[in-house]
Symmetry: C3
């Protein structure tokens, strides 16, 4: 269903193969030998496709979809139209992800070093890397096996990349130690000076920023996001952390494993996060805070105090989400009362 | 009035010519043959210039301006100082835009392909394009006539650009089909993976992003903004839509014609906008919403529900603007009452 | 204490030298001849290092630090552990900055013009500049002595840079006059069109943007920030102003000296700031406002009215900080009362 201009699909696969890969269960009377050729959204799918339902907002689209098969929660399976074979899954989105990866497997970059790349002779470049045109790699940098360095990216002196990293076009990385399978999107800025200066009688006095950025394995950093290096301590991003576009991470920030930061959120200097913290879009955290493992920060929240493990907060200044919902409800009631008074 | 280091002015033009082009009306006793040599702001203009008044905050500057002529609403014309000829316009800002375009016409780029550009032999490059140094154009891309591809921009495999597009320096475009007369500013990122992953027992499972970015005609995308490609459906930007700097548009977003997004605003995945929706600065929309034609979203609003056509909303979470203004007024009153109580 | 992969430290220095440079006072019985080899954070410092305490959140770390010496406020000196020599300072952070600059002095860039840089013959390049690979410098640009132009940066026609500027990799600068010792971080966009258009019957009419960006001396602009050029007037950034990452500055904005803008904040068109205005993270200012000298704008504030000199505002819409704190307290009390009512 994807545009062949941009994507190459493999397959076909049988429903049995897909169910196994997708950790889903074929309904009892289904023919596991049926071939499926691609994934597709519910409203675009045909008898060649498998689709999925993971959000109840799309139940109507599901019930009229022409998809040959679909991944669905057991309790919604009865909504399937005639002609659709359902694959039952406790997490249809995850099952879909696994199946879509089967049709669109990750392809290792074709090894190449562009003649217009400018690589310092002291840099250590492992086997099977792809270095595109205009790339600059400075002294003593280390590039792991099978890395892809996108066009016009700039890798600073001493930077180390583990195996299988993807560095997007036009990004810049400096003062950083980066793990394996890290995906840096286009336009990302990593390792520049943190925002540190002291007031003086003749203007600001710049504080030398002497730390690094240390990024674990399996991290993604979205387009045009910025991660400053530490002032003395390092800035640290834990394994498996997912960072969206236009996110700001200040100096000395420390994030655990599996954290998620949605677009346009930001963390000020020296704030520490546990594991699996989720920060929704446009939320901001001030500096020097401690955010516990599993905490959730609501969209546009402004966090100015520590957050307990597992706590969910919202609002600006952020309070317990329960209190923020009350606050919102109280104001709505006051507005309605006022509205009546106006008549 | 502009700095000749950067700009070349044409002209002069007579007041009659300017009035005609600017869809404005010369006052009765004015001499339409008077020559004007340039546009200028009210406080910098001299007897060689035409200026304009479009914001009542600047009435004082208008009443002492030395401009030879000025575009103004009929009801404010009486504020004009002696020596200024007024051109009456129902929309002085629009009239000014038309006249400024007359003095500073858009110039087609001088055709050139820089020797350091790296263009795949399979790319189709139309006539009269300008491709600047360091540009990378990948396999099967199509560049329309008279396009300008700015220095160090990266155009991905299969990307299609219509005629007369301007692609800013250091931008990156992938998985995109782009119309005519589109202006992509420096540092824009288009077509990277949307932020899609499912939770798994061993970390996040990435969802392959199999859609495209489809951009209509006459669209502008501001500096360092990011537009992710669709997950399955496309991300779609309608004709004539204007996007400011540092804006985020998530996967599967669909925007109609003539929408406006002001700086640092963002739209989460799968939200659909009608035509002429205006989103003010730093506002955010969560995912899977429907925003009707002509809706207006206030600055810093946090929209978590559908918005009706023509509705104006504000606040976070966003409510009808009328309610948000009441909310604000109520709080101000409570604060004042509390203030009195403190004494 | 810094990673030698990335940093080179000079020294050692005696405690007397450090006290003099740091404008601090050695305690009475201290041995000023003791040698110190580096700076380090409190928790990483050893008998070779000097550290500092500037935030009471870190008093515990201070009281068990193994640092040979530390900068501290006189009133906290009694918390120092045995073996630590204290240097008393009224502003330990500033003293630390001065001392860290002593160990890590700024090094002038090694002069070089990369052969892959593309420099128009009409550009004026002063002595001792460093121009890295992939840089593009257009006609009539002027680059001051000892400037460093980072890899793949693009300097537009007529742009002027004073002496000792640093231009980060992958940044783009156009229509700009820039002072001395200005530090532009990677990915910054300066001088593109402001967001100006008028409504017309057939879509938006673009307003030619005929001003410049004028930046004073000793300014920093953080990674991926964007500064639009003026529409007619210039966009002006005063001497010594510090701008963090992902900040937006609209056309015609005028900032005085020594202003500070924290990450992800933004200023809409034609707003004027006095000197030493501080704008905290994610705050936004609408257009055509006047913000007085010394004003402070709280994090995430939404400023829609003028702000008096010295005034501090918070909230969205922003009010006097005192009122915003009351507002927050009132809501908290209402939530608690409601909570009790629920039981």
């Amino acid at each position: 269903m994807s545009d062949p201009r941009f994507f190459s699909v493999v397959g076909p696969f049988t429903l049995s193969e897909l169910a196994a890969k997708g950790e889903a269960e074929l309904v009892a009377n289904a023919d596991g030998a049926v071939l499926v050729y691609d994934v597709a959204p519910l409203d675009q799918a045909t008898e060649r496709h498998i689709s999925f339902l993971d959000n109840r907002k799309y139940m109507d689209a599901f019930s009229v979809s022409k998809a040959r098969a679909a991944l669905v929660l057991p309790e919604l399976a009865h909504l399937a139209p005639d002609g659709m074979t359902v694959l039952l899954s406790k997490d249809p989105y995850r099952s879909y992800a696994l199946i879509a990866q089967m049709f669109y497997p990750r392809v290792a970059p074709e090894p190449w070093v562009a003649p217009t790349a400018c690589i310092d002779p002291s840099a250590k470049i492992a086997a099977d890397v792809r270095i595109e045109p205009g790339v600059v790699i400075r002294a003593n940098a280390e590039i792991g096996a099978r890395c892809l360095i996108g066009a016009n990216a700039v890798i600073g002196q001493g930077v180390s990349l583990g195996e299988d990293c993807i560095i997007g076009p036009n990004s810049s990385i400096a003062y950083a130690i980066i793990g394996k399978r890290v995906n840096i999107y286009p336009g990302v800025r990593i390792g520049q000076d943190g925002f540190g200066f002291a007031m003086g009688p003749k203007g600001y006095v710049k504080v030398p920023q002497l730390g690094r950025v240390v990024i674990g394995n399996d991290v993604e950093v979205g387009a045009n996001s910025t991660i400053d290096r530490g002032a003395g301590p390092d800035t640290v991003i834990g394994d498996g952390t997912m960072i969206d576009n236009l996110v700001q991470i200040g100096h000395n920030v420390r994030m655990g494993r599996g954290c998620v930061m949605v677009s346009q959120s930001g963390i000020s200097g020296s704030t520490h996060l546990g594991d699996y913290v989720v920060i929704a879009g446009q939320a901001g955290l001030t500096g020097h805070l401690k955010i516990g493992t599993g905490a959730k920060i609501g969209a546009q929240a402004g966090v100015m105090r520590d957050v307990e493990p597992g706590e969910t907060v919202g609002g600006s200044p952020a309070v317990a989400m329960k209190d923020w919902l009350r606050h919102t409800a109280i104001l709505q009631r006051m507005i309605k009362d006022k509205g009546r008074g106006d008549k």
